[in-house]
Structure formats: structure tokens, C-alpha cells
Symmetry: C2
Subunit: 243 residues, 2 copies
């Protein structure tokens, strides 16, 4: 196979552009770095091909480039020898019982960790407000540790999503420090959706006003939890059950 | 006040060196960036002085420098106008009942988040193995959101620490995915210490063999949690009670 050597190569330029949300949206493609994520993407059936600077690539479809080009395409500090080009996941949500709603979560690590936790606690879908960080951001993907390929992550208007869920008999639970009840005294329902908010502002008043219940995580003193930790505690407490 | 203008100034050079653990250990000093952390450090009585590039500094003791020098001392991507020079916290542990033990946690964000969570759930101390990331690392400090000033964080040989805790009637609980019991069926004890492990390897076999009980967080399917999330769930479940 011929090795691409020029940083000016059109293919290379298009791959570098995938670091921007705009181009990911346009092409429907995104990148994953390292063997663990590539193999998870292949299992999920969304791997198009692999970019590599090594001659002996274990993947059938690959593009051979120079280490210099790898460095340009990679966002890792240390050298990466394989990057997967993937097609955005299209998963359907079937009879959901546990849904996570994210109201403008900003930090990529937090979103990735929430996705990983949601899969571990058998949640069926994650709905993000339109200002939540993009799920195909490379830092998000890294933090999911591959969990991204096991759960639908949908971007939509949260107000409308909440209405749809209510129609489908979901209990909508907001998390809040004010005018809320302790989580331990709340019974699990068949269909539940939990709203977590922005790192600085929490869940917006508008969204909180649409919730059927407002719960807080019982604690003393500092009263400050990272949103991914708060989400972990909520999802553990009300986890779903896979068939 | 005279403004320091040279990047070659000896004081400036010494401040930049505080990004390295070696110099923090030698001097007993560390840096915090931004007003929230500076004000928390002042409350804790460990703030020495503030470095600033603004003439109207609200702090009594400050060192005036140029924006260029601020940029050199800061680790933030965006401009910071105040950095606090602090003395390492020396806190004593009094009659502890809830202790967190960290076996080689590597990621600064994870350590910072665990400290923040420990304070929220009324833990009394955190003991780190010697290979755990340094608590005065700037990314750790940022993730603690100031919680660092409210809990003693001690570095020691975990094996010895566990022995000391056992002498003091502590139940030592390891977290593990193998040969462990579900956390929900375990009753809270008066004095408990919980061990969380390294991001890749978990708690080492050596440390696990010293534990009185091995617990796992009940989940289905993916079986993969970020260590800060796992710690959050454990600390919420067995939280302490402040007087």
C-alpha cells in the first residue's frame, strides 16, 4: 500500500477537520484513538477504516501515513499509531425505562464519564440539551472508554423531550440543592428520567419547573459535588435492569 | 508598589519552579489560581501573598508583576489576574470515623474530585499511597474546588496505615469486581476505611489481602466505572456524620 507523505494531502486535511464539530456534523464521521476504542467501534459496526503509520496493521481497511501526519491527526500528547475513522452511531431507543437528561453539561470529561456510568447502570438513553458539549469531541470519547457505542445519545430541545417522556408515563426527576427532598426517601418508579445540570449553574429554573419531583443527594457541610459524581450516585440508586 | 518586569527575576523563577513537586516539597509552598481558591486559602489561614498584574488588588500582601509574568506563572489557558502563594496545609486528624485510602490514583482530576466528594460526605481524612498523584498539583487543586483546605490528605505506606487503622478498630473495606459482596448488603460500622485503586489496575492484590471485606458496586453489563464515580457512590452510601 502506498503511504501518504504530504501534510497537504486533501484526505489528511479532511481528517484533521474532523476535530471540529462543524465538519463532524457535515460528514457524519468522527475519530477514535487507540486500539481499545477502535476495537469497540468495530464491534459496534461503525468503523470505516483505520489510519496508521505502521506497516503491519491488523485491520483490513487502512490508510498508511507518516508519523508526522499521525501526530497532526492525533490529539494525544504521546504518539498514537492507530486512529479509527467511524460513522456516527445511529441507535434506536426501545421501550426505555431509565433516561438521563443533561441540561448544558460543558466539560467533555464529565459527559464522557456520565455516558460510561449510564451504560454500567443499565440506562437506556441520554438526551442532551443543544448547548451540551458535543459527544463526538475526542475528550468525551476518551472518557467514555468505549461506552459511547452502547447507548443512544440524542441532542434535542429538553423542554420538548420532557413533554414526550411525560406522555409516555415517565416520572421526571430534577436534581437540586433547593426546595428538594432527600433521594433516599424517594421510591423507584417503572419509568424514570433524571435531569443533571450545568457545572456552574445546575439545572435551569425553566427545566426544574417541568419536573415531577426535585431530589437532592443527602450530604453535610461542603454541599458541592462534581456533576459526574452526582450522576453516578443518582444512577446507582435508581439503576435500570437489563433483560 | 514596584512592578516586577523581568522574567529573569529570581522571585519569578522560584514561583515558576513551584509547578514541580520537587520544589513544592522543598519549600512547603504551592500555588492556587483564581479568586475562589485564593479566598478559600485565606479562610484556611494558609495564604502567604498574592501575585497579580492589576494595580487594584483586594489583598493586603501582593506582588505586582506584568501580564507576561502572570502568563508564565499560570497554568491556565485563559488569562488569570491573581495567583495565591500558599503554605501546605497542616491539619490534624481528630477521632476519625471515615477514612478514604487511595492506592496509586494517577489522574489529577480524579484525585481532586475524590477530595471534594470526601468533604461533602463528611469523611475525616484521605490517605494516599506514595505513588498517588501529588495533591498540590495544580489540576488536582482546581478539581477540589477548594475542598482541599477542609480535609487532611496524608501520603504514607498504605500497608502500615491499614495496620494502624486496624489497631484503632477500623473495618477496612476494599473495592473489587472479583470475589466481592454487593455493597447494599453491607451494614455501616462505626469506623470504616475504604480503599480505591489505580485507574487501570484497581486495588493491588497485596492491599486487598489486608482488607476485612471486599465489596463491589452492584451493576449490570458494562461493569466499568471511573474511580471518582465509584468513590462517590461508596462515600454516599457510607457517609460520615459531622457533629
Amino acid at each position: 500500500m502506498e503511504r501518504i507523505k504530504s501534510l497537504q494531502n486533501a484526505k489528511v486535511k479532511n481528517l484533521v477537520r474532523l476535530h471540529q464539530k462543524k465538519y463532524r456534523d457535515e460528514t457524519g464521521l468522527f475519530l477514535v484513538e487507540g486500539d481499545h476504542l477502535i476495537s469497540e467501534a468495530r464491534k459496534a459496526g461503525i468503523l470505516h477504516y483505520v489510519i496508521t503509520d505502521e506497516d503491519d496493521c491488523p485491520y483490513e481497511k487502512y490508510l498508511l501515513v507518516t508519523p508526522e501526519i499521525m501526530k497532526k491527526i492525533s490529539t494525544n500528547v504521546s504518539a498514537v499509531h492507530r486512529i479509527g475513522v467511524c460513522e456516527k452511531c445511529k441507535m434506536t431507543v426501545k421501550e426505555p425505562k431509565r433516561v438521563l437528561l443533561l441540561d448544558d453539561v460543558q466539560d467533555p470529561g464529565n459527559l464522557g464519564t456520565l455516558i460510561r456510568t449510564a451504560v454500567s447502570f443499565s440506562f437506556d438513553a441520554i438526551c442532551c440539551s443543544k448547548h451540551t458539549v458535543d459527544v463526538y469531541n475526542e475528550k468525551v470519547i476518551r472518557s467514555t472508554q468505549g461506552a459511547l457505542f452502547y447507548i443512544p445519545v440524542i441532542y434535542s430541545d429538553l423542554t420538548q423531550t420532557i413533554e414526550t417522556l411525560k406522555h409516555d408515563d415517565f416520572t421526571i426527576v430534577g436534581t437540586s440543592l433547593h426546595e428538594a427532598s432527600g433521594m433516599r426517601s424517594f421510591s423507584a418508579q417503572e419509568k424514570m428520567a433524571f435531569v443533571l445540570g450545568n457545572e456552574g449553574q445546575g439545572v435551569s429554573d425553566e427545566i426544574l419547573s417541568l419536573c415531577d419531583a426535585k431530589l437532592f443527594i443527602e450530604m453535610q457541610g461542603f454541599e458541592s459535588l462534581n456533576v459526574a459524581v452526582a450522576g453516578g450516585i443518582v444512577m446507582y440508586t435508581f439503576q435500570g435492569h437489563h433483560a
